[in-house]
């Protein structure tokens, strides 16, 4: 039997790796992938807790998270393409227009 605390620890570890990737990497696309990593870590926590509680709510929320992730990926990648078309870069440090 897999312990719930192991699953939660795994979820926390993957979430932390996602946060680290978002903070350390400067390539917008890789930062975006790190966000997907964080979303999936939280999905794992939802599924594990839902499984232990014996309710379907966790899985339903994961379903919604996936939909929101799909919408986010579509809009985010469109923004990246539009930035690349104008600035020829995907490096986050080069985009300083709104920095004071």
């Amino acid at each position: 039997m897999v312990q719930l605390s192991w699953l939660m620890a795994l979820s926390a570890a993957i979430f932390a790796i996602g946060v680290a990737g978002f903070l350390i990497r400067r390539n917008i696309l890789v930062m975006f992938m790190s966000i997907e990593l964080m979303l999936n870590a939280v999905n794992l926590a939802f599924i594990s807790l839902g499984s232990r509680l014996g309710t379907m709510d966790g899985q339903t929320i994961v379903f919604f998270v996936m939909t929101v992730a799909a919408a986010e990926a579509a809009v985010g990648l469109a923004i990246i393409i539009s930035i690349f078309r104008n600035r020829e870069t995907v490096h986050a440090d080069d985009l300083t227009l709104l920095r004071w």
């Binding site: 350390i24 992938m33 999936n40 014996g54 919604f64 996936m66």
Partner: protein, 183 residues
């Protein structure tokens, strides 16, 4: 789910998640991410969430990741040669992440959560019937709102990523030409 399988999938997902962060080639990062998603999907199925696990493979590892791959190819991204970011940022980022991890580990342990856990699953748990029962009764409004969200996202993505029309391109070229003539 057998313990051996759990440890194998857990190791695989953590290692490939690290791969997403450390790879310099964006395509390699993406392939590592697909590996993470597939191993997480197997963990979902092992927890009894069969439908969500398959959706994870089809929608996430299939559709969304292919979208990422298309964008990487479309932009023709080179392998990063220059160092990414300053060392101070990396150092502080790592410390912040370690603190965050410790915090989550402390507060998300099952002993802290005070929930009533049941040992057995009801019949049909994780099946598509059970999922749709919840989705179309308790979460119906959220489901409808999500469909609107997807529509807005599609329209927004098309509006953001479209090339400007030929008329706009010509107008811009004429503006540039007249500016050069004036200068």
């Amino acid at each position: 789910m057998p313990l051996v399988l759990f440890w194998f999938l857990a190791t695989l997902s953590v290692v490939s998640a690290l791969g997403v962060v450390v790879q310099r080639n964006p395509v390699h990062s993406l392939l590592a991410l697909v590996l993470t998603l597939v191993s997480l999907a197997a963990l979902f199925i092992g927890q009894g969430a069969v439908v969500v696990g398959f959706l994870q493979v089809i929608v996430y590892a299939g559709a969304i990741m292919v979208l990422f791959l298309f964008v990487i190819w479309l932009l023709n991204l080179p392998v990063e040669t220059r160092s990414t970011g300053r060392l101070v940022v990396k150092f502080l980022g790592t410390i912040a992440v370690a603190a965050l991890l410790a915090e989550i580990e402390t507060f998300s342990m099952p002993g802290q959560l005070q929930l009533k856990f049941s040992a057995t699953h009801p019949a049909g748990y994780g099946s598509i019937e059970a999922l749709s029962q919840t989705l179309f009764s308790q979460y119906l409004i959220a489901f409808e709102v999500t469909s609107v969200l997807l529509l807005v996202a599609v329209v927004g993505a098309v509006a953001l990523a479209r090339r400007s029309t030929m008329v706009e391109v010509q107008e811009r070229a004429e503006q540039l030409a007249s500016r050069e003539k004036a200068a």
